[in-house]
């Protein structure tokens, strides 16, 4: 999966990538696995220094689904830092590049929240509600946005 050029470029440009191998780095796997409660492979974590987990991907995913989760995690990390103006376009990129993945409706939800947090304008939430009427209306995230209608 990581051999895909697009995924490689995304990871190298946005993260500091660390690999912990269950057998070849067994002691480190045990130490960090305990620190982050990682009991299974593959598990991919996006972590802000010093050790704040922002996103978790457990188990295998096909390429686009995996790439979408990386992009979602990148956006969620920006949101969690309070960088809402950076987070919104990062969430929108998930929708644009991976519209048919599970990450897309979640990104649509958080994009609206990011805009609201950045501007204080509650219309951002109403607009997000409307977007869910047009797309991803069957998703859990549409249910969460339903209170904004």
């Amino acid at each position: 999966m990581y051999s895909d050029p697009q995924i490689g470029e995304f990871v190298n440009s946005r993260f500091i990538p660390v690999r912990v191998h269950a057998k070849d780095d067994a002691a480190e796997f045990h130490r960090l696995g305990g620190m982050f409660d990682a009991q299974w492979t593959p598990t991919t974590l996006i972590v802000d220094p010093p050790s704040t987990e922002r996103h978790r991907i457990e188990g295998f995913l096909p390429k686009d689904d995996f790439a979408s989760q990386l992009a979602l995690g990148f956006a969620k990390a920006a949101f969690a830092r309070g960088a809402f103006k950076e987070a919104e376009p990062a969430f929108e990129a998930v929708i644009q590049h991976y519209p048919d993945t599970d990450a897309a409706p979640e990104a649509q939800y958080w994009s609206g929240v990011s805009r609201y947090k950045a501007t204080g304008d509650a219309q951002a939430l109403g607009h997000t509600y409307q977007r869910f009427q047009d797309r991803y209306s069957d998703s859990t995230w549409a249910k969460k946005a339903s209170v904004w209608g």
Partner: protein
């Protein structure tokens, strides 16, 4: 298969670098052949 990721195997050093560069760490717990 070409490996395109610049993997570090030193978490603590990577964390310091992430802090200095304002980035998050991506930690891959793997059992795949290296």
């Amino acid at each position: 298969m070409a490996e395109t990721i610049h993997w570090s195997h030193d978490f603590d050093s990577a964390m310091k670098r992430a802090g200095a560069e304002g980035k998050a760490i991506l930690v891959d717990f793997s059992a795949a052949p290296m």
